[in-house]
Symmetry: C2
Subunit: 159 residues, 2 copies
């Protein structure tokens, strides 16, 4: 069974997002060894400067890098990343499941990810050209991964 780890930054504030994530995490249990780590988001003033954002991302990157297993295939979520169909993501996950057997998805804070994290990852994945709140992105990615695992298992979830 493949191991999948979500490394995220910032707690889910809205109860409906927490419920959605919990539901998908429960369902994922039947398909993989699922683990998630939620790191603390660095505090920023209301209108942060570019250098304040940069410094916060750098601090977050140290904590993120410490959570990435060297063996795992590491995927950084970023808007400039490669987009994939659900079938292509399923194939990618299947291929990893036959090699290292471990995947780590990384979702940054509201200002994204520091370059050091992106460079430490094996792939940059994008869901959309649209921008989404990183908290909703967690639910979107959980759904995408759940669908991909269903495709690989041949269930009816993905018609």
């Amino acid at each position: 069974m493949i191991s999948i780890k979500f490394v995220t930054v910032g707690n889910l504030k809205e109860s409906y997002l927490r419920e959605a994530a919990a539901e998908y995490e429960k369902r994922l249990g039947g398909f993989c060894h699922y683990e998630s780590v939620c790191l603390k988001e660095e505090k920023l003033p209301d209108s942060p400067s570019a250098s304040e954002i940069d410094s916060a991302l750098k601090k977050e990157s140290v904590k993120i890098l410490a959570e990435l297993s060297p063996r795992a295939y590491k995927i950084a979520m970023c808007v400039e990343g490669k987009q994939m169909s659900s079938e292509a993501l399923a194939k990618k996950i299947d291929a990893i499941s036959n090699t290292t057997g471990e995947i780590c998805f990384v979702i940054g804070s509201s200002h994204g990810l520091d370059e050091t994290v992106k460079r430490a990852c094996d792939m940059r994945l994008s869901v959309s050209e649209l921008t989404f709140p990183h908290q909703l992105m967690r639910v979107i990615l959980l759904e995408a991964v759940y669908r991909a695992l269903n495709i690989n298992k041949g269930t009816k979830y993905h018609k």
Copy 2:
């Protein structure tokens, strides 16, 4: 103030999706005249044939077409549509707000939309190459529209 109407098919089954949609619909009220219509999804057997799906989509299309105002700029959500950045979607909505002042977004059922609906629309919009449940898509699109309206109003929501 621009009028925005969501025409969707099938009730939101999960409570967290209903809460998420309600939250965004409440917020949208400050930015536009928002209206939503949720049409009944046609019942299908567990493993429907292509012609059964086709027939259900045709029946749904009649109800959808009846909800589209002739004046409105009509946008069909489909995976083969054009993707846009949040800024481009904001510009598009701004341009419509200066012409007809009415937009209608159409999200089909789990099997999508009949071709007659797509042809009746002015544009086909895609959020992602990934497939998402149409129910989650409603929340994703509500967030995308809310963000676009914030961009046009110059708020801090979109950093």
